[in-house]
Symmetry: C2
């Protein structure tokens, strides 16, 4: 038995973790753009990365370390992704770390921003030199890693175990667009003082990715930099595998939901729940197709219960389906029922009411099996176009 | 040897084809919404349909006829797709044809519009009863089949063969959104007086689909109603297989390009040319991924030469690729060259200039093989959201 309680506070709440964020002049606005996580005791670290074939330089740099290495320092910048920058991208990271006057053990870099420009090394080195590694402002860090995010994303849990011991686990992340299928332009740093064995860390990350980050979509794009990193300094001496996996799942789920709700102008957070498909794989294909369909997303934005677009997307996904077994609902309002026309004025009015909410479910009962999958998506409106038409400027 | 010349005029230019379009009251605006094609001599007819699993009722109705049937009448309505309407959808079509006072041979129906509502049979019957089957206004027909199209789409060619004989081939279509991978919400009716053998008709349609309609994308959705129909009344007695296939390709290419240029608010028609991939299949995957990427589409709208989004989309498509062999250009302006940073102020200014055009190429040289594929897409701006947020109203 264990309990998991949400608590307030940033990463620096966790014993042994320091962090901060500053403005190094990368963002022309003068907003914070460079941050760090530092641990007095070197941490075990595990990460899952983008499936994009063009991994950014910081990912390649990370992967040059031996398996199961320990680190005491993560440097994170926004505004420049250091992706598609060739060998120079990795050299730049080494140059930066070699210029810093700190005692760093296997330092890690993480970047997000525009692809294809060289890192502004001088600004980053000058900024990082000014860091106070004993600082503790998780709030500053959370701001420094933002790009098109409308708000900073963070969460924290305390896990109380049966034997009276406890550990904390929390995260900070960025991500609000290019979020989809297999990770997304998102960075998520999860820190814990749980005494988790290194071998359980990777397993827990992978187990939980499928139903959290890999189930959300803002626009169907997968970036070059996506990273979920788990740092464990073991300071608490408390651990229970089941509790740890569940607490990590909560952290990853919270972060994923905050990202989807911040989907570059999105006003609606929608769960696409596909049930009774013939396999989990097929349920997942449909759920993700729905969360990615432009026609579905614009109809959600227009608060239009145009279930035909949902049906059409299911059919276009080419999974096993039949219009005589399919049932489509918005929350508990059925709008399509196995080919019997049920979409009269009353149902339409009820459905319209559901669509006015900020958060609701689209439930698609395929009616042919017993497998299910839920994907999380959002609407797409003018704001998305505005943000993405001139992101670089 | 043969020559193919574009000529002016609508379908009624072709010997033996009559057509017209009227307002039957389906569109609240009072615009034309019901049209027909009638041939005094029954035609051979072949069609390719959507790959959506939920085929609309008119498609199922067509497929109930025996293979290689002949017809003399196609009835086309806009505003209602007659899709997801169960058995009633097909019964409604039979009811309509049984109510008409014409001598119809295997009549065909074709519908486009909102999914999931029953056909307004009475309005359609009343409208169709008023048809004058000897009318010849291809222009009226081209308007009657429009939904979100900004303009009517039509083309016509005359093919002169070596022996002095000639035939005509022309088309009318609708389609401006939901256009992608394998056909699209698009209807295309191609008529010819070529003396084409029935067996060549289907073959020519399939051969030409891959590089025309199946290569265009507006928003990645595939509808329930997509149809390309070829009607041949053989009146000319002229035929040459090679000439026919090429003329049909021109017709299908013209129609596809008009659809992509009319991509629901699109201002840019962009060819995504992928070259030197290791297989045609991989080239096609990337070309289509680029034409479907929201981040790419919004960057095109913003006239922003943000090649990082193109690179990221190539990487995310998971084809065989390497950042050290990849070259990306806008027309002849190279913006990414095998990892050597070449995107300086001069190249950026040149690239920006290309992006101000209404029409240009994005060329991605994968540098690993010798296969290529070109997909056609468009930008995505505010207008797309406006059109699709409240399409039904």
């Amino acid at each position: 038995m264990f309990t998991i309680l949400p608590i307030k506070g940033y990463l620096d709440q966790i014993d042994g973790f320091n962090c901060d964020g500053i403005s190094a002049g990368l963002k022309p606005s003068g907003d914070k753009d460079l941050g760090f996580i530092y641990t007095s005791t070197p941490c075990d670290v595990q990460a899952v990365f983008t499936e994009n074939k063009f991994q950014a330089a910081p990912l390649k740099h990370f992967l040059q370390y031996e398996e199961n290495f320990k680190t005491n320092f993560v440097l994170i910048n926004s505004k420049n992704a250091n992706a598609m920058t060739g060998k120079k991208g990795i050299e730049d990271i080494n140059t930066i770390f070699n210029s810093l006057p700190f005692d760093l053990i296997n330092p890690i870099m993480s970047s997000t921003g525009v692809i294809g420009n060289p890192l502004p090394i001088e600004k980053i080195v000058a900024g990082a030199k000014s860091f106070d590694l004993s600082a503790s402002s998780g709030e500053n860090l959370s701001k420094a890693i933002m790009t098109t995010d409308a708000y900073a994303k963070t969460c924290m849990y305390q896990v109380n175990l049966e034997d009276g011991s406890s550990f904390k686990i929390g995260a900070v992340s960025k991500g609000a667009g290019m979020i989809n299928p297999n990770l997304a332009t998102m960075l998520c740093f999860i820190c814990t003082d749980a005494n988790v064995p290194s071998k359980d860390m990777k397993e827990a990350l992978i187990v939980n990715s499928e139903t959290t980050f890999n189930a959300i979509s803002v626009d169907g794009d997968t970036s070059t930099n996506d990273t979920v990193m788990l740092l464990a300094n073991k300071k608490s001496n408390a651990y229970d595998k089941e509790a740890f996996i569940e607490a990590l799942r909560l952290v990853m789920h919270d972060m994923a939901m905050l990202m989807v709700a911040d989907g570059e102008g999105a006003k609606k957070a929608v769960a696409f729940e596909v049930i009774n498909a013939i396999s989990t794989e097929e349920a997942q294909i449909v759920a993700k197709a729905l969360s990615n369909s432009l026609l579905v997303k614009t109809a959600l934005f227009g608060e239009d219960p145009n279930f035909g677009r949902i049906a059409s997307t299911i059919g276009a996904s080419r999974i096993t389906c039949d219009e005589e077994t399919l049932v489509i609902s918005y929350n508990d309002v059925i709008v399509y029922n196995k080919g019997e026309l049920c979409f009269d004025g009353i149902q339409e009015a009820k459905a319209s009411k559901v669509l006015k909410n900020d958060k609701y479910k689209v439930i698609c009962d395929i009616g042919l099996g017993d497998s299910s999958f839920t994907a999380y998506g959002c609407d797409l409106g003018y704001k998305y176009v505005e943000i993405n038409a001139d992101y670089r400027t």
